[in-house]
């Protein structure tokens, strides 16, 4: 079965530009999560969606927004990019409460 698909895998942007990351969860999974992982750090939770509604919100900057669409794919929009936004961004999906998260391979964002 196909796993969580993230695109693009690598992205290079200049400061103050905008970036959009896309995530396609595993079929029939009802929850999508976004995480940010800086170099040498643990993944930090940004936001999650359960059945297309925002279900939990973490340390997501106001410059970032996310949504889940009718086909269950999700997008993370990042504006006014800063150098500190350079990180690996993971999308994950799960089905059912308390079940394991399946992670995509991540999108590496570099802000110059």
């Amino acid at each position: 079965a196909a796993g969580v698909i993230q695109s693009p895998r690598h992205l290079i942007k200049e400061k103050r530009e905008t970036a959009t990351l896309k995530c396609y969860p595993i079929s029939r999974h009802d929850t999508v999560y976004w995480y940010q992982q800086g170099p040498g750090q643990d993944p930090q939770f940004l936001i999650s969606f359960y059945e297309k509604m925002q279900s939990d919100k973490g340390s997501i900057p106001d410059r970032f927004s996310a949504q889940q669409f009718s086909d269950y794919h999700s997008e993370l929009n990042m504006s006014s990019l800063e150098l500190g936004d350079s990180a690996l961004y993971f999308c994950a999906s799960s089905f059912g409460q308390g079940r394991e998260l399946f992670f995509g391979e991540g999108s590496r964002l570099t802000v110059l």
């Binding site: 999560y33 643990d42 993944p43 999650s48 359960y50 939990d56 994950a92 308390g98 998260l101 991540g106």
Partner: protein, 116 residues
């Protein structure tokens, strides 16, 4: 808010030996789930093992097992017969069982190196 603490930033073990990674957590909830994920150099996040807090029996997956001490809020991972492919960053993680779509909160990670 729940917190997860891994007090061992780095550990090493010889191939074929056993190693235990420590994890403690803090929560006021009674219904929750605990996980161990590994992140090899490829940076892919891979589930190692999962434990339901209401189950007293410790979870086991092949060479991986946990020692879940609910009263002590401790959740350690034991890796038996360590293999070179076990070299990775290991993250302990907590998930609330109170609501759907709850976040997974990670500890700081333990870098495990398996030496030949």
């Amino acid at each position: 808010a729940q917190t997860v603490t891994q007090s061992q930033p780095e550990m090493s073990v010889q191939e074929a030996e056993t190693v235990t990674l420590s994890c403690t957590y803090d929560t006021s909830e009674s219904n929750y789930y605990l996980f161990w994920y590994k992140q090899p150099p490829s940076r892919q996040m891979i589930l190692v093992i999962r434990q339901e807090a209401y189950k007293q029996q410790n979870a086991t997956e092949n060479r991986f097992s946990v020692n879940f001490q609910k009263a002590a809020k401790s959740f350690s991972l034991k890796i038996s017969d360590s293999q070179l492919g076990d070299t990775a960053m290991y993250f302990c993680a907590f998930m609330s069982g109170e609501t759907s779509g709850s976040r997974l909160t990670f500890g700081e990670g333990t870098q495990l190196t398996v030496n030949p």
